[in-house]
Symmetry: C2
Amino acid sequence: MQITRAAEYGVLGLTALARRPLGEVVMIDTLCAEEDIPRSFLGKILQSLNRAGIVRSARGSGGGFCLAKEPSEISALEIIEAIEGPISLQRCLDEDLGCEHSTGCALCSLLAVAQDRVKDVFRTTSLSDLTGRHIPNGLVRQARDRHRESESTPPVEAADTVTSTWTIN
Amino acid sequence: MQITRAAEYGVLGLTALARRPLGEVVMIDTLCAEEDIPRSFLGKILQSLNRAGIVRSARGSGGGFCLAKEPSEISALEIIEAIEGPISLQRCLDEDLGCEHSTGCALCSLLAVAQDRVKDVFRTTSLSDLTGRHIPNGLVRQARDRHRESESTPPVEAADTVTSTWTIN
DNA sequence: CTCAAACCGGACTGAAATGATCCGGAAAAG
DNA sequence: CTTTTCCGGATCATTTCAGTCCGGTTTGAG
C-alpha cells in the first residue's frame, strides 16, 4: 500500500529539473547531490522516464537530462506510472471476467473505487504543483557547506556543532 | 500499492460470517471452504480480527468465530487496518517534523491527500455493503457438488463438461 | 477425569519484490 | 582517439509476503 522508493526518487529528481529553466541539461550527479538519491539508482529511474518521454537524455561530455515538457504538463500519475507501471489496487487482473473469489466480487468493486480516487489525486497534480515550496535537504546541505568554506580558518574542533546562520541562494 | 492477501482474505472471511445471523458460531474450516482460503492462514487472520474486537472466538468443541457487532457497524477500514496495521501511503513516519527529503516535502503532502481519499472510501464502506451481491466461488462449488451427489449414477465420462442447472440453497 | 475438538500464538520457511550496485558498451564532444 | 556521460543487462542483499507447523491452552462431552 505504498509507493516504491523508485517512484519517490523519480518525482524528487524531476522537481530538481523543474527548478531550472526548461531545456537546461543536468547531469545525474548533480541531481543526486541535490536530492540525496543513490547515483546508480537514479540512473535507472531516469532511463524509465526517458523511455516514457518525460525527460530527454544527452550522452557524452556536456550530456545529462532535461525535462521534455513544461512541468505544468507533467502529472504525478504520469511520473509514477512511468516508473512503477500502472497503478492498481486490484489484484485480479481481468476485472470484467470476475475475479478468482466470486462473480461480482464486492472487494474488487471497493478496491476499484479506491484506486480511482488515488489516480484522480495523482492525475490532477502536476510537477509544477510539486516544485513550489519544496526545498530538498541536499540543496540545503550544499548551501551550508558553501557557507562554511567561505569562512576564514573554520574552527575544526567545533565543526560538528556550528549553528551559524546561512541562506539559500 | 496493493492490499495484502491477508487483508483480502480477512474481508472475504467476514462476508461469510455476515451472511449468517449475528452470533452464529462458525468453524474456520467452514469459512475456508466457502471462500477458498488456506486454512492456517485464515486462522492467523482471524486472530488479528479477534484482538481488534471485530469477531469473537470460542475454543473447544463447538467453538469457532462469530461477528462481534452488526455488519453495518464494521467498516472496511477497520477490517483492513486490524490486519495490516494503519494504512499509510506515506513513507516518512513523523510527518510533522518534515521528512528525510525536504522541509515541507511536496511529495509527502501529495501522498497524504491520496491516503485520505483511500481511507475515506474504506471508512464509508461497511461489511454489510460488501456482503450484498457477493457470491463466493467456494459456495458455488459446494452447491454444484451437492447437486452432483444427489444425481442417480452420474455420467462419469462427461463429468467435466456437465452444464446442468442448479441453485444455491 | 479424561479425551477430543477447536482456537492461540510464536517460530519458521520459501518465494517474490524491493532497493540498490556493477560493469561493459555506445554515443557525443573536443 | 580519448574523455565524459548515459544505456542496459546482470547481479545481489534485504525485506516483505504468503503460508505452514507445531506445541499449548481452553472448552465441552462422555
